[in-house]
Symmetry: C2
Subunit: 336 residues, 2 copies
DNA sequence: GTTAGCACTCGCCAGTGCTGAGTGCTAACA
DNA sequence: TGTTAGCACTCAGCACTGGCGAGTGCTAAC
């Protein structure tokens, strides 16, 4: 679709612009990339590329910068996925092996790892409980009238809450209720539990029924949280380093999006499944991210639960490097 | 120390400047505050106040702005703590009653509440385990070779982790170990557990000893986390709205500080105990926060654990309102 | 098809002059 | 002695200007 030299020129501009963030002129290309032709020739090619929509010119006497379409072409044309530098791979491996412990902590550390390695903002979405089933409900008495109530899923996820026993409900009642739940509901899909009304179960416990039901609902909700709390952000500061966002208004618009975890969640989870998926500039549904690109990758834990890692940067992003990194990280995370 | 009129002038400037973020001139004061004197007289007072260090002048022909010392005087002089507007109080009460559930969620919601009400950045530090003791250790089998291990403290805090049974350690061994811990270590202070070497206990389990010990350490660490993970930030975006931070460099410096949760933790927890404590501009140890003020309040849960809520804003902060809010919030949180 | 030459465009920058807000000083007043 | 009106002065902000330089598009020659 583009002849060889046009591609060379386009790629040169994309690469240089990613590095410098300054519009690239014909002379610069002629000097830095040995295309074997003069600036004038390159100018002609550039004019063609602009007409085709791959380049844009900020103003008449400036060099060219890639358009969204230009970046898209560049990304699609990266035939084999570029590999990570050895040092990056090493860093990932080392850090990752140290962090495969508690859930929340891991998401956090993962986000931090990715953002520090890329110098972009990273977004990690925790695994969805998916097909999780209730394994066990348990109450642990703390003192005469307080107990911790815990729900354990077969995926190993745990939710817990402290319950102050209301008048008319004693520890024994609570344990009976636990037994009842374990006998009748062990193995039930989390999604089913969500729609369930526990009043029927707790009903026999007269006074405490409402409190118990509230507690159960809250525990189940916290396990199946499809909302903001599964989203972890890191390196938002890195946005400030990008010259394209020295304008406070733009910055604020982006930050505001990042603050809305529900929106971010939808954005990140909507990415198609396999491999790293790239969404460039105006391809993003959200207005405020028109100058940004998102690279999203999906990881799958051994239990079959899936989550997402996403990198947010300017459209002028180091696509190759980030894609390689995300592919590597998701692979490693999946293995653990 | 300051005669009545000087105080009036100073307060007028502080209040107006908090509202407008523009240097205040003598004429403005004469018009907006009925001091009964002409601008010329006010000018004389202002010159005196500047000499005394309560005011500063950005440049010769600008009005005056309060210095750190000016704010300090203003804050110290607020005799009785100003009360919250009824509508604010109502909002707090309503929101708060809905959120007193899961730990992490609550911190998050609390931070969000405070930042949305103040339009500043809020920092919430979760309660320290303090004098917590081990209540129970429990293992819940998930399948043949995976189990969730949970530690429950007498404060109701729970840490859990999935353990893949290594070769040579079976479910029975694990349960024995649990029993052993419960028999020998229940009631032990968390701080003691931290320094404990579980190899001795796990030693008899030959092969699995190391894995078990690692798991215990990680669980205990996550319970006693004195590091970053107890810190929850919200409304960092609000910083962008302050005209004093339209300069990207300053902004970045502040953001960088906020990213370092350990530093933030130290900053917030170092505030003296009772009531809301205010730290203005250069009073902050951290260089990057020289143009900021921190208002920190401590809450104490029924269990005796203490945590902190902190509001970060420009030195030109609505001190009265924020102090009132924090006092109210901490009181309400403490009750639950 | 390629290239050198050249006129042209336009952002950026430094310099200029104007305006308005606000001050400090002085002298007059109560 | 404290207060006030008047006035000269200062200085940021703004609009405007001209020069510079980077980079372009076009044309004509190779």
């Amino acid at each position: 679709m583009l002849d060889a030299r046009k591609r060379q020129v386009l790629f040169a501009i994309v690469q240089d612009y990613i590095q410098t963030a300054e519009p690239i002129g014909s002379r610069t290309i002629a000097k830095r990339h040995a295309l074997g032709v003069s600036p004038a020739t390159i100018r002609n090619e550039m004019a063609d590329l602009e007409e085709l929509g791959f380049l844009a010119q900020p103003h008449t006497s400036a060099g060219r910068i890639p358009s969204d379409r230009g970046y898209r072409f560049y990304v699609d044309a990266m035939e084999q996925l570029p590999t990570l530098t050895a040092v990056d791979a090493e860093t990932v491996k080392r850090q990752l092996s140290g962090m495969l412990r508690g859930q929340q902590t891991m998401l956090d550390a993962l986000a931090r790892l990715v953002s520090s390695l890329t110098n972009y903002t990273s977004i990690v979405v925790g695994p969805q409980p998916h097909q999780a089933r209730l394994q066990l409900m348990q109450a642990v008495p703390l003192d005469e009238n307080r107990a911790v109530i815990m729900l354990v899923l077969d995926t190993g996820m745990v939710a817990n809450e402290v319950l102050a026993l209301p008048r008319g409900l004693d520890m024994y009642d609570l344990l009976v209720f636990c037994n009842y739940v374990n006998l009748n509901l062990a193995g039930t899909l989390l999604s089913k539990l969500k729609d369930m009304n526990f009043e029927a179960y707790a009903g026999q416990l007269r006074a405490g029924a409402q409190v118990l039901e509230q507690t159960m609902d809250s525990l189940i909700a916290s396990l199946s949280r499809s909302d903001g709390d599964r989203v972890v952000l890191s390196g938002a500061t890195n946005i400030l380093n990008q010259p394209e966002f020295k304008d406070i208004a733009k910055l604020r618009a982006i930050m505001r999006v990042l603050d809305e975890h529900e929106l971010v969640l939808r954005l990140v989870t909507s990415a198609p499944g396999a491999g790293a998926s790239v969404s460039i500039g105006a391809e993003n549904a959200v207005e405020a991210l028109r100058d940004c690109s998102l690279i999203t990758a999906t990881y799958e834990l051994s239990g079959g639960q899936t989550g997402h890692i996403c990198v947010l940067g300017p459209t002028r992003m180091e696509y190759a490097r980030v894609i390689a990194l995300l592919n590597y990280v998701t692979k490693l995370v999946g293995r653990a």
